[in-house]
Structures are given as structure tokens and as C-alpha cells.
Symmetry: C2
Subunit: 226 residues, 2 copies
Amino acid sequence: MSTPCIICVAITGSVPRKENNPAVPVTIAEQIESTHAAFEAGASIAHCHVRNDDQTPTSDPEKFGRLLEGLNTHCPGMVVQLSTGGRSGAGKDRGGMLSLRPDMASLSVGSNNFPTRVYENSPDLVDWLASEMCTYEVKPEIEAFDLSHIHQAVKMNREGRIAGTLYVQFVMGVKNAMPVDKDVFDYYVKTMQRLAPEAQWCAAGVGPGQIVVNEWSIAAGGHTRT
Amino acid sequence: MSTPCIICVAITGSVPRKENNPAVPVTIAEQIESTHAAFEAGASIAHCHVRNDDQTPTSDPEKFGRLLEGLNTHCPGMVVQLSTGGRSGAGKDRGGMLSLRPDMASLSVGSNNFPTRVYENSPDLVDWLASEMCTYEVKPEIEAFDLSHIHQAVKMNREGRIAGTLYVQFVMGVKNAMPVDKDVFDYYVKTMQRLAPEAQWCAAGVGPGQIVVNEWSIAAGGHTRT
Ligand SMILES: [Zn+2]
Ligand SMILES: [Zn+2]
Ligand SMILES: [Zn+2]
Ligand SMILES: [Zn+2]
């Protein structure tokens, strides 16, 4: 018996605009339509960002609420994961949508560098986001941009600050963070098996690394994000 | 033939005060005396922080200059490494002492969490500190608080942004960063051998992890910091 592979579709992200790719869904209506197509094609999780009218990213709970409602209606049974990422807001604004009780939300548990800046996830903010997810029973997807983030997630899980079975995503290929590297990927998998054998994990490669990391992940028995 | 083990003595650090431990050398005179004793006991590198009169950490180049001069006089042949760490200043203040042309300086090439805050080393600041070290021919000791920092150092070295043979220190046991973990330690060593076989590495454990990490490091053929 093999474990089914969960495909998570990241429909919009926080960076690309219509001028980069006209197919990027930006309005709520476009996002619902695009997710519906991915759902019918086999995706089980929708990883969601929302945008302002000028396409800039936002953490606006009202926008997230409309998207969540639309996805629940059009894609019954699909798991909806809202982003609490730092490109869409700062501080507690990043978690304002958690009270909507989405199925899942992304959670960074450490800090690292991004292409042009520090991706700041202070210990206080991490603790607050994690506790909000406990309060509203939102399942976190841990975004591991580096090895210590896996250790930190396991620690928080053991201490009860993250509830339930861990779900960790390895993120590779972000400039100035962890590159796309097969040896590191294998060590991430080994680390999960060592520290949290009951956990589930998935992996995402950025840009040209996307397909490569998808293939590694599926071959190693993990889940994956498009 | 075996490789000699380099012992680096961190004489003061940026955190402990006289009230924590009366033996912590705080004034320049105390620092020179303490380093001299360590030098005679076999230490080859002095890792140096300087303090204000109220014991708070500073990056003041004048203070670093007096310490450097004293160490060169009292400990001839000892390698002096000045800290550019973020507890002693912010932004470019952290590198104001590099024009003194110490033998070495510490260099963080990524960001991570510390016990109560984000240890911020933005890409711009990292590039500036590295280029100042090239300009003044200061040998960097890379402070690797996480795995991606090793990858980033290797990349910068290959691109010529860090000159010469890499010297990397693994730092373990800082809360909210990488814990003291033997499997990770072994993987760090393996990563150095894979990506930069000609490089030298050392390791430091914080607090109760200090002796443990010293022992691992010496047994694995690396250098170590007290
Ligand atoms: Zn995202
Ligand atoms: Zn529909
Ligand atoms: Zn130091
Ligand atoms: Zn002396």
C-alpha cells in the first residue's frame, strides 16, 4: 500500500503580476476559477495569497474571507491554506485572517534572508501566530527555509505550541536562503524521519527549481506544491 | 601527520557582565591580560568584543584599536579576530573597525532567530562587510548559525566576494537557532568536505553545549572555540 501524494496548488503567490504572466489569477473571481480547475485536475490543497486592486499583496481578512467562502462553495472537500507570509503584511497583520478558521495556514518558525531583505519572523511573532492557529484550530504548514526551522518546528510540536501531527514544507531555491540541492533535500527527509517519524512533509522549489524539487519529493514519498 | 587543532579563545563575548561572572574581562587592560594568559596556555586566535564603560557591548573602532594594539604587543604571533556581530551595533557601525586591518573578523552571511529577536544580516550589509574585509585584507570567520549559511559562504567564496580559503565556524545551542545536535554537526562536516574540501572549520557550542561541541570538533579534526 502506498501513501497518496498530496498536490498543493499555489494559485497566485505574493510576487508575480499580470504583466509577468497574464494567466496569474489576481481577483477573487479569477482565483476561485483557477483553483476550481486545479481541483478538478487533482490538487487537494489550495495555498492562497490575496491581492489589492493594484495587484500588491495584502493580508486583508475581508479578502481572505471572500476567497475562502468561494473556494468552499466551488471546490467542496478541497483543503484551503491561507498564507501568513511576510510579503503580504507585517507583524500581527499577517495573522488577522486566522479567526476565519481556514483548514490550514502557512507558518514560518524562523528567520532567514530573502533575495533583497531579511525575512523577519521574530520569536514573539512566531509564538503568537502559532497560538492563534491553536485557538482557531488551523493546521499549520511549516515553511522550512533552512534546517534549523525543522528542528524548531519539532520542538514547538513537542512543547504543545504546535498541535497535532506536523506538516512541514521544505522551501528551496530562494536566493540567499537554501539553494536547490539534492544532498540537503535527502538530509531534510532523513531529519524528518529521525525527529518526527509520524509527520508528513512536502517540498517546493522556486522558479527553475520547481519541477526538479517536485520530482525529488514524489520519488521520496512526500507531498508537493506546484 | 595530523593537522594541528587551532584553539580560539572568546575572551569577553557580548553578553556576560561582571555581575554574572567577576572573571569576565571587560576593560581593555583586563582583556589584554586575560588573552595573554590564554595565549600562553596555547590559544592561537583571540575572538574579541569590546565594551563601553557601563559594560554594554559596542563596535567603537577606537576601543577595538587599543585592544588590537595591546594584543599585538603582549601576544606576538597570536591571530586577532574582531567581532562584527549584531549585538554590538547596527548596520555599517558593525564594520567600522575593519579598516584597522585585524588578522580576522567574524562575518555572518545570513539571518536567523536569536533567543528574543531576529539576528538581522541583510544581503546588503553582508555584501558590504565582506567587501570591506576584501579591501582591508581581513580574513573572515564565517559564523554559520544554520545550514544555508554554509552554502551561502561557499557561493560567495566561489564568486570572489569572500577571498582565500574559507574558514567556517558552526555555532550551535543558541535558542531559536540551531540546537546542539550531533547528527547536524556530522552533516555540517560532511557539507564542508563536499562543497569546500580545502576549507577549514571550527565549532562553538553555547552555554552547556560548549564542552560537548569542543569534543566533537576536536575528534572530527576541526578547530574549536572556548
Ligand atoms: Zn505562499
Ligand atoms: Zn467553480
Ligand atoms: Zn563573538
Ligand atoms: Zn602581557
